[in-house]
Point group: C2
Chain length 436, copies 2
């Protein structure tokens, strides 16, 4: 879901897919101080291999900066090899105490990008570019109106110079960090000795980035668009965009209805639409309606004997349940049906984004005092307000309200700002929320 | 490489992609007797998680039959859920003592299909269907003329009723088992209690299959087509099908050459060809020629100042080195160039398959006596001969010649056959070879 789209974007922006070993010698993890501190409580360790106790424990990768740097030191000699920009699709393991499906799991699937550059400017540009790729993916494919921005120092990943994030508002109004891009500076290159000879023959440490989205994003889609009936998938990411349910009662209706259903399936497939004909005779049409609604299929096409007679079908939208979302008597005629379905899929895509955007905007409060912030948070909302206070004050907000700074959004209001906590001038507004 | 093609084929044949946990409780592995016997010497075990010794060791999956059956028991209630047909793309771990890049590695990537059926006939049909998918993939995409067939009883995977295989001849004439499909019978369903209620309400064990190709196949491509210069990738699987190398000496030639190269790149990209313009100025054209030949790119396009003047380019084939493989003065004109490149890519694809097929056929000897077999094997060739002898005799062949039965090919010669070992009647010929 989305892997193909992201692969195209990664390649367009100059990255190659590679794969690195999943088992990492424990000594690698220890090389970067803040890295080992951050991850050591969460590691799964292999101590027995091929029936024997291992001399050195192996870490099941929680992320790959260490092994990537180990390889980069062997691949990079001079500025000619830079920038080196790779991506890996992989599973990672973090020993979480409290798990939640898709959001916080012991094992998850992700892509992790890793790049090495000759200058800090290039690394910064890359980190920003990739958070932009994620932002567009969220809006255009997943219909999730994320807010992109920079993490506060307190919330920045240990081992990174700067952390960029996309933050999504779930249906319960908690924030989900849905994608992350790190400007790693030289933390890892200094720890691993990842150096290159510049054009003057001087040895320099590379400047690095890493960036990732994971199966957590799938959780984000479920919790953004889903309702009590089940999933509601944005058409551009749905593995099945249209399900066809044939309906008949009398045996002599069967062939006519099925033939019509098969020809509609063929027509839509030829038009590049991901279509599923549910022709199983072991389930009733009502059972199938519920099943495919739960699965979040954006459009359903019903075909019964009367439809066959009139040469039409009924098209229903998952996002508008019941009669209001139904187009009765859509012509079965080739070009008419194709155009109708394509346009309805676009309607669903746009309407999911619009609905999520309205929901988000009606649940963000502009706070000009700490009291207002606390009130907004206690109502389950997000708060946005000018902030230039200390890390200690940030911790105080967290302890008293349960909310953290999700990000300083890239998109900032114009004009003079005063920190709502201290009354001092503030360069930026920050967004505060409770989060997963 | 090939993942997209296989995913389409898997979906066309009714399978859904899923993902199962990589860590498997040790007790699961112990449930199927021959399974634990086969895999226990090769397991990597996680004994520490989140800083604590685990109560039950976790196996890092060597394959997923056990965890799949654990889930299937929860998903399958009645015949209505059957057939259940899934595929997983995943990494697996086997603690190999002697490793060889791509062919035998501690960690490898693969797809593993797992299916459950109501009848043994359906399972057998599925196992055969999937080895056929692999066979077509090998011929049509990888240009590898594999021989598909059934493993002998002695070589059948423990825990399977029947093993189907595709066997490929490498450049050193060793055999590589490049893909496998198992009819698992009820071994796992009985061990795990994977049952369904049939139409009469009777509880029955499901009949299962599993099938896999892995990164080993990449090794097969390298060792089938590669030469002393490096890789030689079949165009249909090559991540880069055409590399463009611009060539100039004088500074005032640069813009003209680069503009021409960019427009050729654009033209080919629009035509759906995977093209790479190597415009870096840090390397010489000669360096680039060697580099991209080593990487196995099927076609190279050179553009120099004279080509720009005449509106033409030079096209070289990777599989025919030097002047014989060069088309000089191919028109840069849109439709002419597109047609030329597409046709040359097809030429390379066909020629790789033809070359590998000739090589294979000239290295298989029809043996009508054990002496002939041993001679063929000692010359590094494969031997094919009628076989109906015992498992003990099969072991004797292995011990004396180093060759094993690779398969009884589906494609059998007509007519009466006499076992070359015993002189008894034989139903089939078998293929013997040394293997990886």
């Amino acid at each position: 879901m989305g892997q193909e789209y992201l692969n195209v974007k990664f390649k367009e922006t100059g990255h190659s897919n590679m794969y690195f070993p999943q088992f990492i010698p424990y000594s690698f993890i220890e090389k970067e101080a803040s890295h080992v501190e951050g991850f050591s409580p969460e590691l799964a360790l292999v101590t027995i291999g091929g029936g024997k106790e291992l001399e050195e424990k192996l870490v099941v990768r929680p992320t790959s900066e260490t092994i990537v740097n180990h390889m980069f030191t062997q691949w990079i000699q001079s500025y000619r090899e830079l920038p080196l920009m790779i991506n890996q699709w992989a599973n990672v393991m973090r020993w979480e105490m409290r798990t939640k499906p898709f959001i916080r799991t012991l094992e998850f699937l992700w892509q992790e990008g890793h790049t090495a550059h000759a200058t800090p400017e290039e690394a910064e540009k890359e980190a920003l570019q990739m958070i932009d790729v994620y932002t567009k993916f969220a809006y255009e494919q997943a219909a999730i109106p994320v807010i992109a921005g920079r993490k506060s120092k307190a919330e920045t990943f240990a081992g990174a110079a700067c952390t960029y994030t996309i933050e999504a508002m779930m249906g319960d109004r908690k924030a989900l960090q849905a994608g992350t891009s790190y400007n790693l500076g030289q933390y890892f290159s200094r720890a691993f000795g990842t150096q290159f000879s510049d054009e003057n023959g001087q040895r320099q440490y590379v400047w690095q980035t890493s960036w990732a989205v994971s199966t957590r994003f799938v959780g984000g889609i479920i919790m953004t668009h889903g309702d009590d009936t089940g999933l509601m998938l944005p058409p551009r990411l749905a593995p099945i965009q249209v399900v066809i349910v044939p309906i008949w009662k009398k045996a002599d209706e069967r062939t006519g209805v099925l033939n019509a259903a098969i020809s509609v399936e063929k027509l839509l497939k030829t038009a590049g639409i991901k279509v599923k004909l549910d022709e199983s005779e072991q389930r009733t049409p009502g059972w199938k309606f519920n099943f495919w609604e739960m699965k979040g299929v954006p459009l359903r096409i019903e075909i019964g004997p009367r439809d066959v007679a009139t040469g039409s079908v009924v098209v229903s939208r998952r996002d508008i349940p019941g009669k209001p979302g139904k187009d009765f008597a859509v012509s079965m005629e080739h070009s008419a049906l194709e155009a109708h379905v394509k346009s309805r899929l676009e309607d669903v895509q746009a309407s999911l984004l619009q609905r999520a955007t309205s929901f988000r905007d009606s649940n963000i409060v502009d706070a000009s005092s700490y009291e207002e912030l606390k009130r907004a948070i206690s109502q389950g909302k997000w708060a946005r307000g000018p902030w230039s206070a200390s890390d200690a004050k940030e911790l105080k907000v967290k302890e008293e309200s349960g909310a953290t700074i999700r990000c300083f959004p890239f998109d900032q209001p114009q004009g003079w700002k005063t920190c709502f906590m201290t009354g001092n001038p503030a360069d930026e507004v920050a967004i505060f929320a409770k989060s997963y």
